[in-house]
Symmetry: C2
Subunit: 446 residues, 2 copies
């Protein structure tokens, strides 16, 4: 992986420069990542990107070419350049498991280290978590609407080319079963899918020869795209060419609920009862829900999933909440409240209160201690209640927990997401706008 | 640059595989990129990303590791792998100049080559152009609303980490003067900006020592963030610490029009008449317009510019419009019209009709010829009219025109954007929803 060190806002380096000069760069600090609110109407957020973040952290090194550019540009002086040359994050990071749900104020990531160490990571952390969590939140609504039918991510062309790889990964965290994106397949061990575009049919002198060519190359189990000219004739030709063992037909335009029923009837009449129907025309969670009663076997989703279905980013922020003062004591800090921009000083951990296996409350415990507060503060549990701890260690004294990275990390996050979503109260499974699925209680033990 | 070859949808390779087997992979083809419509209410689109595309094209190579993964996964067979191993784009690409405006149906990019050569580029081309053009379109509305005041891009934290670099670049194409993103500065020669966050003030035992530290490191010409605790006291302290030569104060919260006036009066009363006011709190083009009468000197824009201000992607598609038939003759092709998905077969070029230096019409000329049609087809011009040709060569027989890449490409695109926007009729400078600024006429000369 190339160095990620300059995927950073300039002010992080200018703050470091000033703090190195006055000595405060070495103060112990706790920064937290949280979202003040969910997008309007959304019931829950989905944390995604943690695995990518841990990979990017490992590559956060100022090499010769980065240092040389900073020197040339006069961004910082020699003392700071020397600090950057030796920069390795040696602190501690903990957070919600990737794939878990979050709510307003949930402390999804906590970074402990000196100011210098921790301040440099702000942009990288927020870029990754804000993007990937936005995609995962949309994807989760789609897989919920799809029920047991698979959702396939096909939106690469509507996203930045590297954003597309991350989006495919985030969609799979939230329950998608595959992606069209080859690089995402390679990097994260995802299943890749796709057979042909309209261009393939148009390339040939007629539809029949295009289908015959595709079936010759890929076998009758392939998916034929049947709507280039006329769907009814396309379906007839597809079965004629591939036989009743044709894998699937794809519909990429038209009034899908009606069309799917017609195509299903036609396929069945032709004896192609096992041929599946894939639909893929500007689907979002609402379109998927509206197809629940239609004979559709899987959903190809593009634009809406990679752009977060109306909410292409999350409002996660990275805030200093606790820091060493001149006297060596750790003190909670927070910006003065302005409309919508307040935050709570002090370090936080969180747990989810469950009653009969369903979530009832997010409990956030605030502490003035550098170390994570004790959940004993949460008080006695009622019968049938339990608390699920939400915060796990991710980086300990600079060492990354490798269970959360790469293909293993994605698979783990997808399991976490499925399990956490299963804890949601039924009402939160609706797509309609509403309040967060559970309330958040903030406790200050002392 | 790492290989970009797998930033591709799987179906491009499976189509190639089938087309190599039946011989159609070698048919000459013309693919075109266009948007069927603009986002609802928008007056014009802005083409951006061309320079990045040309850079990515040069890195579109299937190396050993890409080929090995495709082999392992069984995506394609040995014949196709051998084709991919030798893949170099040797065709021709032309298009609108980066930064120019486009309208529904404008042929912004044309790719000529064999089917095999051209089909592989679909995802890469669309990912780059759809993302970058979405950002540029939003950025252009912001710089138009800002008039002569500079707009600064600060949205990296709200975008995928590499998407952020591309977004900074696209914002500058559309008139932004700088970015907070260091990597964008390095890669594209952009001006980088930024001084300090609230965390810097909170790190210190009091605001005064934070300001003093920053001024000591960066000089009095720096920008001090004055809204961590109380703006009025913050401004007083800032001038006290830096003197009346303080470069700027930044306001990142509150009711900005009122606050800016109060702060301006306070600064003037303190003798800091040259101290500028930078505002940066969730600005979009409407917020910028509403600050036109406020004493603000520059705008820091984050979320809304990097996410395309409500339209995070463009609907550009990559369509086969002309291809060699079995008889060796080039024939126009198009998918059958479905609602909103029709396209026009045949190769296109375009010109913008200008009257007294203002655009009046986009003229798209369609041809069955492989080579670009002659603009003579556009007919006699009236007095005071001229035609501006919109299509320039970008890649000739595989060779990239380097004037469009790197820092030179960005600077050129920014000039093109400014010149093209200046041609827009006055009514299109409004932010309110409306029709495309000029109509498009499609001409079929033969």
């Amino acid at each position: 992986m190339q160095s990620t060190a300059l995927l950073t806002d300039r002010y992080e380096l200018t703050m470091l420069e000033a703090a190195l000069a006055d000595g405060t760069a070495h103060r112990r600090c706790v920064f937290e990542v949280f979202a003040r609110r969910l997008p309007a109407g959304r019931r829950y957020g989905v944390l995604a990107g943690t695995g990518r973040l841990l990979e990017a952290l490992t590559a956060f090194r100022f090499g010769e070419s980065e240092l040389e550019w900073l020197r040339e540009q006069g961004v910082v002086g020699e003392e700071t350049l020397a600090y950057l040359a030796g920069y390795r994050f040696t602190g501690t990071i903990s957070g919600y498991e990737e794939g878990d749900l979050y709510f307003p104020g949930s402390p999804v990531l906590t970074v402990q280290g000196t100011f210098g160490e921790a301040v440099l990571l702000e942009t990288l952390i927020l870029s990754i978590l804000n993007h990937d969590s936005a995609v995962a939140a949309a994807a989760s609504r789609m897989t919920m609407a799809a029920g047991t039918r698979p959702c396939l991510e096909m939106g690469s062309r509507r996203a930045h080319e590297e954003g597309a790889v991350a989006a495919a990964r985030a969609a799979v965290v939230a329950g998608f079963t595959g992606t069209s994106n080859l690089e995402a397949g390679r990097r994260y061990g995802l299943e890749t899918i796709g057979t042909a575009a309209h261009a393939y049919t148009l390339l040939h002198d007629d539809e029949r020869s295009a289908f015959a060519s595709q079936v010759a190359a890929a076998g009758p189990g392939t998916t034929l795209l049947v709507d280039t000219y006329d769907v009814q004739r396309g379906v007839a030709r597809a079965v004629e060419v591939a036989g009743p063992g044709l894998g699937a037909v794809r519909l990429d335009s038209g009034d899908l609920p009606t069309l799917a029923s017609e195509v299903r009837a036609q396929l069945d009449a032709l004896g192609a009862t096992g041929t599946r129907i894939v639909v893929s025309s500007d689907l979002d969670e609402y379109a998927i829900a509206s197809l629940a009663a239609a004979p559709v076997d899987s959903y190809g989703v593009g634009t809406s999933v990679v752009t977060g279905s109306g909410h292409p980013t999350c409002g996660m922020v990275y805030k200093l909440v606790l820091r060493e003062a001149a006297d060596g004591v750790m003190r909670p800090v927070a910006k003065a409240a302005a409309e919508g921009k307040s935050s709570v000083g002090g370090r936080k951990v969180a747990a989810r209160r469950l009653e009969n296996a369903l979530a009832t409350e997010e409990v956030v415990v605030v502490s003035r201690d550098e170390d994570a507060p004790d959940l004993a503060a949460l008080g006695a549990l009622e019968e049938n209640e339990r608390l699920r701890r939400l915060v796990v260690p991710l980086v300990s004294d600079g060492v990354v927990d490798t269970r959360y990275v790469g293909a293993e990390g994605v698979a783990r996050a997808a399991r976490r997401h499925a399990a956490s979503r299963a804890e949601l109260p039924r009402a939160s499974h609706r797509l309609s706008d509403g309040d967060p699925a559970i309330p958040t209680e903030v406790l200050r033990p002392r």
